[in-house]
């Protein structure tokens, strides 16, 4: 192994660092982390950084394609973007921006403390960065669930009144369970048998009897369950009539193709969210290794590379926030 490092071309590369050829074997003896195909820690570090930057370049192109889609959609439907942007919560988006910036700072500090060999501060900063990632995803979860509840989603579902849609969902879920036969099954002898459990206990063969009822009003066959108690237990407690339109559908100013905004919104923030999850995994691995004491002033490359990844996740969000939340 060490013969390789003593080759003339290797010495030519390393001469900038003022090494003698025979010094390289000493480098390997000195630094356990130095892989045999590298001459010096600096060369190994530079190679790792170059590889990481190449990966980050592909990440930029990856997100770049979606930014291109965004630009095309926005230039074609400017009215959709200025209208639909108001459905996004600026406060939540702004707080998330700050969370990511602060977690970027703690990540940069983690690199700093790794370089200084301060193990406790390094682990603390990594945990804080992890906390930022969790906080970001929790806020994102509240944003997503609220929008999905209002049917502010991509595709045809955008045009389904939310409450009507929910009724369909519940009905379809229930109809998959073994359904009661309205005609053939006698009233339950046990009055305490209520709810889904009693329905699920019915023999599956009875399910055929329910099918004609499905063609009537939605969920009729399901709601006319054998006992009144079961029906009450399953009836959705929704005071809003099924025909009540949601906010965006009731708005006469709703521009055509508004669902496109939410398609690109979920695509871009979703891909970004996946990157946050991946970031949490690699930061978790760093925490494990940092706690074990792997890193110090001589060797902190993984901390540096994960830091670069985490910063680019922050960098993407820096563009997503104004482009989606802050359209005048």
């Amino acid at each position: 192994m060490t013969q390789i490092t003593a080759q003339p071309q290797a010495s030519g590369h390393a001469s900038g660092h003022g090494h003698a050829d025979d010094h390289h074997s000493g480098e390997h003896a000195k630094y356990a982390f130095l892989a045999h195909h590298f001459d010096t820690p600096a060369q190994q570090f530079d190679s790792a950084k170059l590889g990481m930057w190449l990966f980050l370049a592909t990440e930029v192109l990856f997100f770049g394609a979606l930014f291109v889609a965004y630009a095309v959609l926005r230039s074609r439907f400017p009215e959709v973007f200025s209208y639909a942007s108001h459905y996004l919560d600026t406060v939540m988006g702004g707080v998330n921006t700050c969370v990511l910036i602060v977690s970027s700072l703690t990540m940069a500090l983690a690199v700093y403390f790794a370089q200084r060999g301060k193990k406790f501060a390094l682990v603390l900063c990594l945990w804080l960065t992890m906390g930022g990632a969790v906080g970001f995803l929790v806020i994102k979860y509240f944003e997503y669930t609220h929008k999905i509840h209002e049917n502010l989603v991509w595709g045809p579902s955008f045009y389904v009144p939310p409450h009507n849609h929910e009724g369909e969902l519940e009905a379809s879920v229930l109809s998959k369970a073994p359904a009661p036969a309205v005609n053939s099954v006698p009233a339950p002898t046990d009055p305490s048998a209520t709810g889904l459990v009693s329905l699920a206990a019915r023999p599956p063969a009875d399910a055929s009897a329910i099918k004609p009822a499905q063609s009537g009003p939605k969920g009729l066959g399901v709601w006319s369950a054998p006992t009144a108690a079961a029906a009450v237990a399953m009836e959705p407690q929704d005071p809003i009539p099924a025909e009540a339109p949601s906010d965006h559908l009731a708005d006469p100013k709703l521009p055509p193709n508004t669902h496109l905004f939410f398609a690109i919104y979920y695509a871009m923030t979703g891909l970004h969210g996946i990157h946050v999850v991946v970031g949490m995994i690699v930061i978790g691995m760093l925490i494990f290794r940092a706690t074990r004491g792997d890193f110090g002033p001589n060797y902190y490359t993984p901390v540096d590379l994960v830091g670069l990844y985490w910063h680019i996740v922050d960098l993407v969000w820096i563009f997503l926030f104004p482009l989606f939340y802050l359209i005048h």
Binding site: G16, W53, G64, F67, V68, Y112, Q115, P256, P297, L326
Partner: protein, 145 residues
Amino acid sequence: MAHSHTSAHGNAHAHAGDHPLVGHLVPVSTLVFTACTLLVLTIITVVVRYIDIGEFNVWVAIGIAVVKAALVATFFMHLRWDRPFNVLLFAGCTLFVILMMAFCVLDTGQYRATQYTGNPPVAQQTLDANAPGAPIAQRKEEINP
């Protein structure tokens, strides 16, 4: 700034205390200052949203985002002290994304509308000539896609 050297490798053998074996040590004050600037710029970009400057709103927002991105890349990602080739990689791929975006927007901007509110012009001419007062076709997308 507290650092006394700008080369990423001038300190390859400076083992004494403050400096790592490889790479560059960016002082905490620089990092904190960068983060504070980023937070201030975030507040500014939110405030600017509520000021109507017409078409320039989007360009101001993008401009602030570019400044923030540059700050993150320069200081958090150590690009200021990194190998120039890494800077070239990052700037290069960003440039090509902008190029792709520009061509796509220019291209799609040239398309003629293919969905009409109302009938296509030729059909409407025929209708006007042969059946004046005929109902005008409405775009389906306005109700349900």
